[in-house]
């Protein structure tokens, strides 16, 4: 059997890699990809805890479904924003998008 620790360490690694992507990437689409990786790590954790701690209650899976829905909504709005910004400024580099800066 696979110990719970393997899943948790893998999810921690995936989350950290996603965090690095969010903090370090220039391109706004790449930042969204990093967020997707982080949400996936959270999902792995939710399902692993469901399977190992409370398999008789379905809470973990239900929350994972919610995370799926929120991720889909987030990526739709995020990419629409990226495309709208690209139309106006011809750039998707996050450090050049400063129109809300004073």
């Amino acid at each position: 059997m696979i110990p719970l620790s393997w899943y948790l360490i893998l999810a921690a690694g995936l989350f950290s890699i996603g965090l690095y992507g969010v903090l370090a990437r220039k391109n706004a689409v790449a930042i969204l990809m990093g967020i997707e990786l982080m949400l996936n790590a959270v999902n792995v954790n939710l399902v692993a805890f469901w399977r190992y701690r409370t398999p008789e209650e379905i809470t973990g899976q239900a929350f994972a479904v919610m995370v799926f829905a929120v991720a889909a909504a987030e990526v739709a709005v995020g990419l629409a924003l990226v495309i709208a910004v690209y139309r106006r400024h011809k750039t998707v580099a996050a450090d050049e998008i400063d129109l809300m800066k004073w």
């Binding site: 059997m1 696979i2 110990p3 719970l4 620790s5 899943y7 948790l8 360490i9 893998l10 921690a12 690694g13 989350f15 950290s16 890699i17 965090l19 690095y20 992507g21 903090l23 370090a24 990437r25 220039k26 391109n27 689409v29 990809m33 990093g34 997707e36 990786l37 996936n40 999902n43 792995v44 399902v47 469901w50 399977r51 190992y52 398999p55 008789e56 379905i58 809470t59 899976q61 239900a62 994972a64 479904v65 919610m66 799926f68 829905a69 991720a71 909504a73 739709a76 709005v77 990419l79 629409a80 924003l81 990226v82 495309i83 709208a84 690209y86 011809k90 998707v92 996050a94 450090d95």
Partner: protein, 174 residues
Amino acid sequence: MTSAQIIFLIAGAVTLISALMVVTRRNLVHAALFLVLALFGVAVLFVLLEAGFLAVVQVLVYIGAIAILMIFAIMVTRGAASEESKAANNNWAVAAVIAILLFEALVVILNLWPGFRATAAELPASIDTLQELGSALVSPEAYILPFETASVLLVAALIGAIFVAWRRGGKEEK
């Protein structure tokens, strides 16, 4: 070492390596394709965790919709995206340190928890998890409220995305 462990190690290695590629590749199309691979690795993990429905949803929603949407966005914004000299901004070293510290801290804290090395009990044969999940999502005692809220959120996101990305006539130079 059992076969499940071997499958886990392969899927986990594929997931982590392609996740690293996602955050480091300069070519965004390659990054998106590695993202698909990473998401598929996570789907394999869901299968290993006996959450078959979530594995299917992962392939449908993440790979079928989100990753394809990403690739479309990359293609639409291509002129700006592909000619960048560097993939990372000037703070990448700080970001790497923060990510590594977070990983270390998570592992150390999890190590203090007595349930960390637990193995899974067999799933009770009397429970059909898919049926349980289905009825939990629509039962008033369980998750009908978050479920309905999620559908409202999706509609709002749909309308918002159309509104934000709408090309307003006359305001564009092109």
